[in-house]
């Protein structure tokens, strides 16, 4: 166990925890968007920013989801600098996702008064990457990825056409925080998943882990890394 301070409270935490995990364990609220306990921390949204100080170093801001706990670390989760950064980040998210109820709610909570910059086109996807990461880390089919870079970066299947790898498990639609991915039944059985274009349109296949044709919200919420690895192990044993 190591000793740290969060918002002037001394706490003890396991060595392998991140600051975000330590905060959640001890009841310090931190807003997040691209964090999910079943996925590797990504550090993209920058909403989980906290202020950290170490001896003989000036204090600085960092993403709590990726920064490991250290002995003697002093963390401020709600300082003026932190609040200003989160507020500006939320305002920037609204630059594209101005119609997203989830982002609007987040922005209001973080104190955004007005949105002073708008991207030329509305885009409800905030590039949190959870769909891509879930498809890669949990489901393992790698049907979608981030393509291009910078402000043009977006989620797409290869060649922007219906993916042959997608199994229509629906994980991406469930994990997406803004509803940018939709699952629509076109005719009775055909299914289309869409971000900016189709991810796949085909009949639902079986999830390779549980055999069900789309994953439930409960499954995702309860899934943590150790469960997943146990599941994968038993699946591999069964399929030998």
């Amino acid at each position: 166990m190591i000793k740290m301070t969060i918002d002037n409270h001394p706490i003890q935490v396991r060595e392998d925890r991140t600051i975000l995990e330590a905060c959640r364990e001890h009841g310090f609220p931190i807003p997040t968007l691209c964090y999910h306990p079943a996925l590797e921390p990504y550090g993209a949204c920058r909403l989980c920013i906290v202020e950290i100080a170490q001896p003989s170093r000036p204090s600085r801001l960092t993403a709590s989801c990726t920064y490991p706990c250290e002995e003697g670390l002093v963390v401020q989760t709600n300082s003026g600098r932190v609040k200003r950064s989160r507020r500006m980040t939320a305002e920037l998210l609204l630059a594209g996702a101005w119609n997203s109820p989830a982002i609007q709610a987040l922005a209001e909570e973080l104190g955004v008064q007005e949105v002073r910059f708008h991207l030329p086109e509305e885009d409800i996807c905030v590039l949190c990457g959870m769909c891509v990461r879930a498809c890669h880390e949990i489901v393992g089919t790698n049907a979608i990825s981030f393509i291009q870079r910078g402000i043009q970066k977006h989620v797409s299947p290869p060649f922007k056409i219906s993916s042959a790898a997608c199994i229509a498990c629906g994980t991406c639609t469930l994990i997406c925080p803004t509803g940018a991915i939709r699952l629509t039944k076109v005719t009775g059985v055909d299914t289309t998943l869409a971000v900016h274009g189709p991810i796949a349109d085909l009949n639902p296949h079986y999830c390779r882990l549980c055999g069900v044709s789309d994953m439930s919200v409960h499954f995702l919420q309860d899934l943590d890394k150790s469960t997943y690895s146990r599941l994968t192990q038993s699946y591999q044993e069964v399929s030998k």
Binding site: G43, A44, C45, R46, L47, I49, R60, L61, T62, A63, T66, Y67, P68, R81, R84, S85, M88, T89, L92, L93, A95, G96, R116, F117, L119, V126, L127, G129, F146, Q148, R149, G150, I151, Q152, K153
Partner: protein
């Protein structure tokens, strides 16, 4: 290991073959020393030799044609009687740095330096200078202050205040011949490291030298090596990388080192690999540097042939392999975690640190990444020792730094100076001041990650700490000079446009924040600036700077912050007065015919791409402001200076 005694690049007849000294694998240190002594004895600076700069810059100015003509002419003169025959070595070298005056041709042993040489000059050079030992005045450098011609290369004012520890070999050796590098003492530091120093001693020496990362961060190189070595002792496997992804626009220090003296980098990496117990290394180099890539590959191949790279180097149990990896057009891959992702075959997306590469880098193993210039400093430190290295520079910034001096400057090129030299000395004593008598406005250091220093800071001593205190950074060495005709708002907009395009897009502040800042700057430059814009820029800048995931985002606001700090009045003029004081921003300028000077020749009319000029022959012409695209073509073709450029002034049409 027998070499054919022969001189590099000596053509027997026009179109004939080069005599190449064969390179055979050295099995021991003593074999190396024998070869080195032989090569050193063959190297004779008193023999006639013509050295022509064959780096990218001079190639673009035609140096290849100069070399071809030289070889052709000297080949043909073989036909004349023996007593008149000159046997002259011809060497295409790397870039010595005086790029403004290329193609550069220097004749040894007298060290006569000719500039802006054309193929047509060659017969005269051969006859007058090589044969008759006479100087051709028109090809000499002329000191703009005194009007004097200077013929000896070491006396050129450009080189006086430089301290060329790294660039010394660049004008002398043929970079495609490992023999040249060895003849002048190359790879002796490696031998010293292998034979008489253990890894801890090597690291101690690098620490004591005070060498700091030359890529821009300025972190202690020795400390970095020490951390990495400690981790590799634990994991048993590790890597070293040379970051040659020099992406700052306007910077070409690393390019010239790789083109002109690639072995200095290879030797530095060998010593580092030995010190950190690493068997594999990578050089990650931009694909936009084809000549540097080629010369590096040749150098690696020759080092492998000689047994200086590969298994059991010089008969020891030290093995090291060096691979080349090309960049693929992404500035962000100069950031170390993005670079490693790229080497691993993935997109160049940075990932958060900690963990730092020294702990977990390539394929999860401890990795030490250093910049080209940092590696190139290592052989000197090992050969001469930390104490001598530390004699150059200031208290906390030891050694030299190579800068690429570009922009509004008379002597564009590469300069290597001791840390602690002042900006004024670089710009005026070495750089020869600004052209056309224009006033100095600012020097941008560190490219798109850096800040500018205005005239009031010309006497700043260049070292890491003093630059940071003034809101600038050392950066990788780009130094762009701006004069009174440079608009600092447009300057900031240019850098923001660059960083914004190069953002990988992973994190919110960089991806969207830089776009927000750029959109604001573009609006200001187009004449649409609003009250509150400067405050908005500062507000967004703070979040982008403090909360972005990687160095690209964290430093992207620097040019904006720096120009607002020192040139706020220019921003205010754009926003409130709708004036661009430097008359650059298209949305705030207009071109207009000056009636008293107009000759009615219609040259501007014919050249206007927008058809905005009207006027019969011999009549005063008129520019239609609504059609004018502000391209400036008319002003550049008018022989009578009858086109005026205005900003904010009312113009009578």
């Amino acid at each position: 290991m027998k070499t054919a005694p022969g001189m590099a690049g000596y053509f027997q007849d026009y179109g004939g073959d080069l005599i190449i000294d064969p390179i055979s694998k050295l099995q021991s240190v003593s074999e190396f020393e024998i070869w080195q002594n032989l090569l050193a004895s063959e190297w004779d600076d008193t023999q006639p030799c013509v050295r022509v700069c064959d780096g990218t810059g001079c190639r673009a100015l035609g140096s290849q044609k100069v070399l071809e003509k030289l070889r052709q002419e000297l080949g043909q003169t073989k036909a004349i009687p023996l007593e008149h025959m000159i046997s002259v070595e011809i060497v295409g070298t790397g870039c010595p740095g005086f790029c403004e005056c290329g193609p550069l041709l220097t004749i040894y042993p007298e060290q006569v330096s000719y500039q802006r040489v054309k193929p047509g000059d060659i017969p005269e050079i051969i006859q007058k200078t090589l044969r008759e030992k006479k100087i051709i005045e028109r090809l000499l450098y002329t000191d703009p202050q005194t009007g004097k011609h200077i013929y000896r290369e070491p006396e050129l004012p450009f080189y006086q205040k430089q301290k060329r520890m790294l660039l010394d070999f660049n004008g002398r050796i043929d970079p495609t011949r490992i023999q040249d590098y060895i003849a002048l003492g190359g790879y002796r530091s490696l031998v010293k490291a292998l034979i008489s120093l253990n890894p801890d001693e090597i690291i101690a020496e690098v620490k004591a030298s005070g060498l700091r990362g030359r890529g821009g961060a300025g972190f202690s190189t020795g400390l970095k090596w020490e951390m990495c070595r400690r981790n590799i002792l634990r994991t048993k496997i590790g890597y070293i990388i040379c970051n040659a992804d020099e992406g700052d626009p306007g910077a070409f220090m690393d390019r010239s080192l790789m083109e002109g003296n690639p072995h200095s980098v290879i030797e530095g990496m060998l010593i580092g690999a030995y010190a950190m117990n690493v068997q594999q290394g990578f050089v990650y180099i931009r694909a936009e540097y084809p000549l540097a890539v080629e010369n590096l590959r040749i150098a690696i191949h020759q080092a492998e042939q000689a047994g200086l790279l590969g298994d059991n180097i010089l008969g020891t149990d030290f093995s090291f392999r060096l691979h080349v990896r090309l960049g693929a057009g992404a500035f962000v891959c100069g950031e170390e975690t993005a670079l490693m992702a790229s080497v691993e075959g993935r997109v160049g997306e940075p990932h958060p640190r900690p963990p730092y590469p020294a702990e977990s880098g390539l394929w999860g193993q401890p990795t030490n990444i250093n910049n080209v210039e940092t590696w190139a400093n290592i052989p000197f430190i090992i050969k001469q020792g930390a104490r001598i290295f530390a004699e150059t520079g200031t208290d906390k910034s030891k050694g030299t730094k190579i800068f690429s001096l570009v922009g509004k400057i008379n002597n564009t090129g590469l300069v290597e100076v001791p840390m602690g030299i002042t900006l004024r000395e670089i710009i005026y004593d070495i750089g020869g001041g600004l052209p056309n008598g224009k006033a100095f406005k600012a020097a941008q250091l560190g490219g798109p990650s850096g800040g500018c220093l205005p005239a009031e800071h010309l006497d700043t001593k260049i070292d890491y700490e003093s630059l940071t205190a003034l809101g600038a950074i050392m950066g990788s060495g780009g130094m762009v000079v701006a004069d009174e005709d440079t608009c600092m708002v447009d300057f900031a907009r240019y850098f923001m446009s660059f960083t914004q395009q190069e953002s990988c897009g992973k994190c919110t502040p960089c991806r969207i924040g830089t776009k927000a800042m750029l959109a604001t700057l573009e609006r200001i430059c187009a004449g649409g600036g609003l009250p509150g814009d400067i405050e908005y820029l500062l507000e967004v800048a703070e979040t982008v700077r403090t909360s972005s995931l990687c160095g690209l985002g964290q430093t992207a606001p620097n040019p904006v912050l720096s120009t607002i700090r020192y040139f706020r009045d220019e921003y205010e003029a754009h926003i409130f007065d709708k004036i661009c004081p430097a008359k650059v921003c298209k949305g705030l300028i207009s071109y207009s015919v000056i009636p008293e000077l107009c000759n009615g020749c219609q040259v501007c009319l014919r050249n206007c791409p927008a058809g905005a000029i009207s006027g019969a022959k011999q009549q005063v012409h008129r520019i239609d402001e609504a059609l004018c695209t502000r391209c400036g073509m008319c002003k550049s073709v008018c022989k009578f200076e009858a086109i005026g450029l205005y900003s904010g002034a009312m113009v009578a049409i």
